[in-house]
Amino acid sequence: MESIVIGVIGADVHAVGNRIIEYTLEREGYNVVNVGVLSTQEDFINAAIEANANIILVSSLYGHGEIDCRGMREKCIESGLKDVILYVGGNIVVGKQDFKEVEKRFKAMGFDRVFPPGTPIESVLHLIREDMMKNV
């Protein structure tokens, strides 16, 4: 079964959006492993190893996502997950910044797909499907 790990990173307790993501992806037929709010990079990575996940989808809504996500790709490589596809979305930086710049910074950190504030999960389902095919 195609598995995807979701959760909210760092000291962030925004639970509702994460629940919506879980619900939507489950309806799409994926095995969704939800590590919940207040999750560390290790929580995501450990879950992805045990569940053999293809995609890790990181949410952050409280502005500190950039600090929380730093070094995540390196840790994935270290843990044997070099091919895992990393998604990040939400209010991932402080304040209102030019999203092109933000995307560039997160891509440099090793994230494969970066989404701006207010992106509904439904609008990216086709990308998830595409990436799942790529990775299987």
Binding site: M1, S3, A11, D12, V13, N31, V33, V35, G36, V37, L38, E42, N46, A47, I49, E50, A51, N52, A53, Y62
Partner: protein, 466 residues
């Protein structure tokens, strides 16, 4: 006739307890040195005679036994990620009454597999991957065990999706393998029961023979259970109650022995306040941890290793050279305190064992500062509201300072983040009957519960140190 005999074959003593089912009470008990080197039956028969002299009973309707002789049940736990399937595998071993001697995560190397083979291990528990999750790792590990020609029974309790491949590997390498449900079917969900049953069946059928305990099976009904499992069952019964006979609610049982310190907590351990988030693997309602480096004799030197130089110095200021005392006890395992001072030093060691074992068992808080204010992560069980702490095992039962020993498990300002009990009552298993009642509870839970409630009593008065 309704007399039952319950036998506990320990590493040092074989203990017999006779129970009258009609009266719901103990008729008598006796003990004799365990004779595992020659024939366990000899020690058992001696104890049987002693008991017969006391009670005039020589016929029993049923005889049941448990054992921790010859090192108990030594296990190796193998998983994938340390905090997840490795932890789950460890908990299954402990819940089945085993002692986790070796632990491995991720891919086994040939050297790892060889040290399992040469490590006097009784059963290997192989886990890894959630159902439908990672397969490569467990398949690699099973094959690695096969390649070095492992003869030890292997229990597979990993990813359900590759049970067939594992079965093929077992066949190919002629491994004595068993397949059961995944210890972690979904992330952070713990599933103990299936693997535990298989482990105990193997223990009864295969391990007891190797340890020279098998011979006793001619004398008893049913197979021999691991003693810690019997204690866990007794504690669970005492906590939960049975039908209309109420239990005690949330309890802790602590058993300090010569080689190990066992800590059992029977409660959900869920958070007691609102701003707490539970972190990590699901906790079993009846949880056992065993500390192989904390004990009064075989492991006395291990207690020292847990202390800092400063702590040892503090005892020296009180006139106790802990290092010398611990090493002496380590070298003379049949040492018994002969005077007030030696008794006191034994109680100091017991307090350290209880304190450190508690630190390792209880859950801990860690603080997170969020935009919504301070929140806490809780890792492990919250034991703050536990109502009773029960002491068992020779050291506590025969120590006048039992109260002071049990008191070290309480919450302390020195360890503010540990979720230790706050205000419990202290009980003592004066008749050393938890393992016997655990055995009895499999067949007559109501009787076992009534006897425990009658016999396990509150420690009324603390013994005050001068």
């Amino acid at each position: 006739m309704s007399n039952y005999l319950l036998v506990d074959i320990g590493s040092t003593y074989t203990k017999l307890t006779a129970v009258d089912l009609n009266k719901c009470d103990i008729v008598g008990s006796s003990r004799h040195f365990t004779t595992v080197d020659t024939d366990v039956r000899r020690g058992y028969e001696k104890a049987f005679m002693l008991l017969a002299e006391k009670t005039n009973i020589t016929e029993y309707e049923k005889i049941y036994a448990c054992s921790s002789a010859a090192g108990g049940l030594k296990m190796a736990a193998i998983g994938l990620v340390e905090e997840l399937t490795v932890e789950a595998a460890k908990r299954v071993c402990l819940g089945a009454g085993g002692k986790v001697s070796l632990v491995y995560s991720h891919y086994l190397t040939q050297k790892d597999a060889e040290s399992i083979r040469d490590g006097a291990i009784d059963i290997i528990l192989l886990a890894g991957g959630t159902d439908g999750g990672n397969q490569e790792c467990v398949i690699h590990n099973a094959a690695m065990l096969g390649k070095i020609g492992i003869q030890i029974p292997v229990v597979y309790a990993g990813n359900r999706s590759c049970q067939d491949q594992i079965q093929t590997i077992f066949k190919e390498y002629k491994i004595r393998g068993w397949i059961c449900d995944n210890v972690m079917p979904r992330l952070n969900v713990l599933n103990i029961e299936s693997a535990r049953q298989v482990i105990q069946t193997i223990f009864m059928n295969n391990i007891t023979a190797a340890k020279g305990i098998k011979k006793i099976e001619e004398e008893i009904d049913g197979g021999v259970l691991p003693t810690p499992y019997a204690v866990l069952k007794a504690a669970e019964l005492l906590s939960r109650g049975y039908l209309h006979e109420a239990g005690l609610g949330d309890i802790i049982v602590i058993d300090i022995g010569g080689a190990t310190t066992d800590f059992y907590s029977i409660c959900s351990g869920m958070p007691k306040q609102a701003n707490v988030l539970v972190h990590g693997l699901e906790e079993p309602f009846a949880k056992r941890t065993v500390e192989g480096d904390l004990g009064m004799r075989y492991s006395a030197a291990g207690v020292l290793k847990n202390l800092s130089e400063e702590q040892i110095k503090l005892y020296r200021e009180k006139g106790i050279d802990l290092r010398q005392e611990a090493n002496y006890r380590n070298a003379n395992i049949d040492f018994l305190p002969k005077n007030e001072r030696e008794e006191y030093i034994d109680s100091v060691l017991a307090r350290l064992c209880a304190d450190i074992a508690t630190s390792r068992h209880v859950g801990i808080f860690s603080t997170v500062y969020t935009p919504l204010g301070v929140m806490y992560y809780q890792t492990g069980k919250d034991l703050s509201d536990v109502k009773f702490i029960i002491g068992t095992g020779g050291v506590i039962i025969y120590d006048r300072r039992a109260y002071d020993i049990l008191k070290t498990t309480l919450r302390t300002p020195q360890k503010p983040m540990e979720l230790r009990p706050r205000n419990p009552d202290f009980l003592l298993d004066y008749d050393y009957l938890t393992s016997a009642m655990g055995l009895l509870s499999m067949y007559h839970p109501e009787v076992a519960l009534k006897i425990m409630k009658k016999r396990i009593k509150k420690i009324e008065r603390a013994y005050y140190e001068s």
